[in-house]
Subunit: 361 residues, 2 copies
Amino acid sequence: VNISDLGESGLIARLKTILPTASPDLLIGIGDDCAAIKLDDNRLLLATCDIQVEGEHFHRYYFTPYQIGRRALAVNLSDIAAMGGKPTFVFISLGLPPDLPTEDFDDLQRGIADIANEFGVIVAGGNLSRSPAGLIVDIFLLGETTSDRLLTRSGARPGDRVFVTGHLGASIAGLRLLQAIHANPDKSELAPRSSQLVTAHTQPTPRIAAGQAIAASGWATAMIDISDGLAADLGHLCEQSGVGAEIRQTSLPIPPELPEVAAAWGVSPLDLALYGGEDYELLFILKPDTSDAVIAAINESAGVTITEIGRILPKEDGCRLLSDSVARIPLPPRGWDHFSSPPYEVGGGVRGELKEDSRNP
Amino acid sequence: VNISDLGESGLIARLKTILPTASPDLLIGIGDDCAAIKLDDNRLLLATCDIQVEGEHFHRYYFTPYQIGRRALAVNLSDIAAMGGKPTFVFISLGLPPDLPTEDFDDLQRGIADIANEFGVIVAGGNLSRSPAGLIVDIFLLGETTSDRLLTRSGARPGDRVFVTGHLGASIAGLRLLQAIHANPDKSELAPRSSQLVTAHTQPTPRIAAGQAIAASGWATAMIDISDGLAADLGHLCEQSGVGAEIRQTSLPIPPELPEVAAAWGVSPLDLALYGGEDYELLFILKPDTSDAVIAAINESAGVTITEIGRILPKEDGCRLLSDSVARIPLPPRGWDHFSSPPYEVGGGVRGELKEDSRNP
């Protein structure tokens, strides 16, 4: 028996039985977007980490060193956003191939520096190592929030309303475009027409302002960032809240460029939006009686459009999709699993090309 | 030009010019054992990280998964010890080969769990990823101390007295024994006779109690942990304090088993003690008029013998060794550099086999 037989959730369940994980000061430990540690009566320290391994999370043929650095910090910022927090200090562990050109090293730092400056994050430390087998970027990010604003995955209640920020499915489409262009440079004509999709994958924007606005509104009951795909992350949220949910297909914010690209590959834009992942948008839940004024205020502060896509149901109803033909379709919480799924490859099927960051265990 | 031409210190100097690194709340950033972040008027958050990459920091042929897990946390605990801090919460990023047996995964967790329990550390989060090219263990450790107890590398003054905890040179000797036994199983008779040396390498003990006792004494002016070797880490401390130092060869705490093992390889025990590294002992500096009672109290609380090995000199005197023939020999701050040194190999020379953790940049 090896770890691929267990899958990621099996491994996490296993390590939780072995490791010491409980402390009165640890309000949220393994299993949410960030850990939350009590600093005093109200202040909380948030902490998250995310490792990016060459050949597993990215290839250097379609990511520039700048993008690798920027993106590695972006995906961690997204975890802080999902708790409604403010990012503060970052630590950077790098495993570097010995033949990495100095210019690439500098570009990697510039990618980190640009997004750090954009979000007011200070680099407080890190670790450099030679890596015999490719580039490794492991980011550890601290942030802060207060107890009265903390938003976890577990507070959703039946009747609550389901929202997302931005668009869904853009990132996976961007990745497929990059892979298609690599496999067949003739297709590079596709790139400019789809530059927003490609940018969604290479330079995702963490929704820090949106997360803070949602948490500060006082009307939200749960939040998670969409890294594994809407269906999978909705599944995580519903499981931890002990609820079900219904998503309206016609409400899903599918990017305008997506249908043409999806049609060219013979896949459904809906599948990309539901199962694609790596969108790094926020999925958040508001109380049933949240006023239009509150929603408009969140939309205003968020810096990105927010869209209502469904509602929370009792647990026994499960998670389902209300399709445009009005039928109700079960919505399996599937997404990418690092251990039981094959590595994505150029030219594989949709599932074979999906790539998800693993969650905080 | 690639990164190997620059070496680790060159890379760190380079990234400091690119990344945002200054904040009023960041009392200590890049360049010490830990970062220190101000939480309130007196409380400080300590944070450190250390990445361990298979093939670079360890091989699985001589480290068990249990030892890899235990050691990865131990080397981070040593950084908290070097600031006189108390470790609190740990985050674990793992890159796992897909064919890793489940039993090895469990043993890795058990190694982490045992040392976490020993030092009261709680696992608050982490990240699992598949790694195509070998095991990666990246540990991020938080701790705490107070402003009035904080000990950095930069407070040593001429006339101060130089001490170390435990023994020097044991770890490198233990590594060489493991490598020799692997290359030539006939030598496995060596192992039992040298089990303390092997254990010093495979299961180093972080000097948490010693670090706290030294910081609490009020008589210490600087501290660092010995991960790069005494000469290199004394060099770091002297550089950051703007001083020189003289070490007495006859005072160095060389383990009793070391001379025999060193003789068998035709190397000098002194070289192993000065340049071997990975001892994870503490090098600490006390004021000139520290009383014997204070030193005895530190020794009592430390849980390990402490030894006075020299004194701090003015910067212009440099770092030097007072040898047993009474000559003064310059003590170059050399140690392992991840980027300009070749990977260590079984059967190589002493330098070629040395393996140092890279420092916090």
